[in-house]
Structures are given as structure tokens and as C-alpha cells.
């Protein structure tokens, strides 16, 4: 039992570190992105990675409340991506 839980702890640490690294690299693409489509894509990926970080926090602490947080982050991320893309496409969000 101890080796299995130790492996789970190591996997949690690896997942935390790789998701944080992914966030930083998405921030790099957000800053240097040549077109605004790349910037929207980087923001979308950052939202998805933040959702993954919240899910990992829920596994780490064993608390059920993080489920609602991640569902809200998913919905807000989708709506904000569509709103940004629509603003660039049509010049207006709600016509």
C-alpha cells in the first residue's frame, strides 16, 4: 500500500509541475503570438490548463467542492473564447 500511495504522490507532483510549465509556456505564446488568433488560442489553452490544475488540487486534498469550480471554469472559458473570436470576426459580440 505504501508504494502505491507514494507512486500516486509522485505522479501528482509530476502532473502539477508539468501543468505549471505548460501555463508558463502558454504565457510565452500569448506574449509573442504574431496574430490575434494565436493569442486567443493561448488563452483558451491556459483556461484548460487551469481547469486541470483545479482538478489536481481536488485529487490532492480530497475535497468535492473543486468539481463546481472546474465546471464553472470550463463554461466561462468556452464563452470567453467564443466572445473573443466573434468580436474579431464581426466587430461586435451581440448584434
Amino acid at each position: 500500500m505504501t508504494t502505491a500511495s507514494e507512486l500516486l504522490d509522485i505522479a501528482l507532483i509530476i502532473a502539477f509541475v508539468s501543468l505549471a510549465f505548460a501555463q508558463i509556456m502558454c504565457m510565452v505564446r500569448l506574449v509573442i503570438g504574431p496574430s490575434s488568433g494565436d493569442r486567443i488560442l493561448a488563452l483558451d489553452t491556459m483556461v484548460i490548463n487551469a481547469l486541470g490544475l483545479v482538478v489536481l488540487l481536488g485529487i490532492h486534498q480530497g475535497v468535492r467542492i473543486y468539481f463546481e469550480v472546474s465546471l464553472l471554469i470550463a463554461m466561462l472559458g468556452f464563452v470567453s473564447t467564443v466572445a473573443l473570436a466573434r468580436f474579431l470576426l464581426r466587430g461586435d459580440i451581440i448584434e
Partner: protein
């Protein structure tokens, strides 16, 4: 080797798969040199990574004693909305012409595109008059 140990190993494996997919997605986002190519990496691979993280969370919730299947909701929502947002970002790329022209095809003469070139238009007019 009880069921608890197997579930813990499976949860750790799904966590590692999710972390690897997140790294691959961000590698594609950084290294590709075209906007459309950059679009392909994170929108597909990111959802698979998050899906395996959610599967690990479900297994772990069953393992620790308060089972829940609520993560299926997030997974379904992500799998539905990821192609829609990818389609919108691709529309933005086409609208701003930030993607390169497609590479030359190997065998055919040209890609079938909406705006036909002048010689193609002349050719179609001659065939129309001939027929």
C-alpha cells in the same frame, strides 16, 4: 494486490498520461510555425489530457470512499465545446489571413478553392462554348 492498490496504480498512470499530453500540447503550441498548425495541437490534445486527469480524479474518489461520477459532466462539456472553439479560432485565422497559403499538391494541378484563377476561368468558358 487488492483492488485499492490496483485503483491507486491506475490513478497514478492516468495522472502521468494527462501530464504528458499537456506537455505535448504546449510543445506543439510553441514549436509549430503556422497559425493553423498551432491550432491543431492544444485543442485536441488538451482535452484528452484533461479527460485522463478527470478519469484519475474519478478513480481516486471511488478509492477514497465517497464515489462520484460528476466529472463525466465536465468531460462531456469539454468534448462538445472544444471543436466549436477550434472552429471559431480557425475562422478568425482565415478572416485575418494569418495562415499561409496551402502547399503545392503533388499530383494535381491546383487545390479546389473558391476564387478561381484567370486561366481556369478562361478554360471553363471555352469548354462551355464548345459544349
Amino acid at each position: 494486490m487488492t483492488l485499492h492498490i490496483i485503483a491507486t496504480y491506475a490513478s497514478a498512470a492516468f495522472l502521468l498520461i494527462g501530464a504528458a499530453f499537456a506537455l505535448v500540447a504546449v510543445l506543439g503550441l510553441l514549436k509549430f510555425n503556422d497559425s493553423m498548425a498551432r491550432l491543431h495541437a492544444p485543442t485536441k490534445v488538451g482535452t484528452i489530457g484533461i479527460g485522463s486527469l478527470l478519469v484519475a480524479s474519478m478513480i481516486q474518489s471511488f478509492n477514497t470512499g465517497n464515489p462520484s461520477l460528476h466529472e463525466v459532466l465536465i468531460m462531456a462539456f469539454l468534448f462538445v465545446t472544444a471543436p466549436i472553439s477550434a472552429n471559431f479560432i480557425a475562422k478568425v485565422n482565415i478572416h485575418q489571413r494569418s495562415c499561409d497559403t496551402p502547399p503545392a499538391p503533388k499530383t494535381d494541378k491546383a487545390w479546389s478553392v473558391l476564387n478561381t484563377s484567370a486561366e481556369d476561368k478562361a478554360l471553363s468558358e471555352t469548354t462551355d462554348t464548345a459544349s
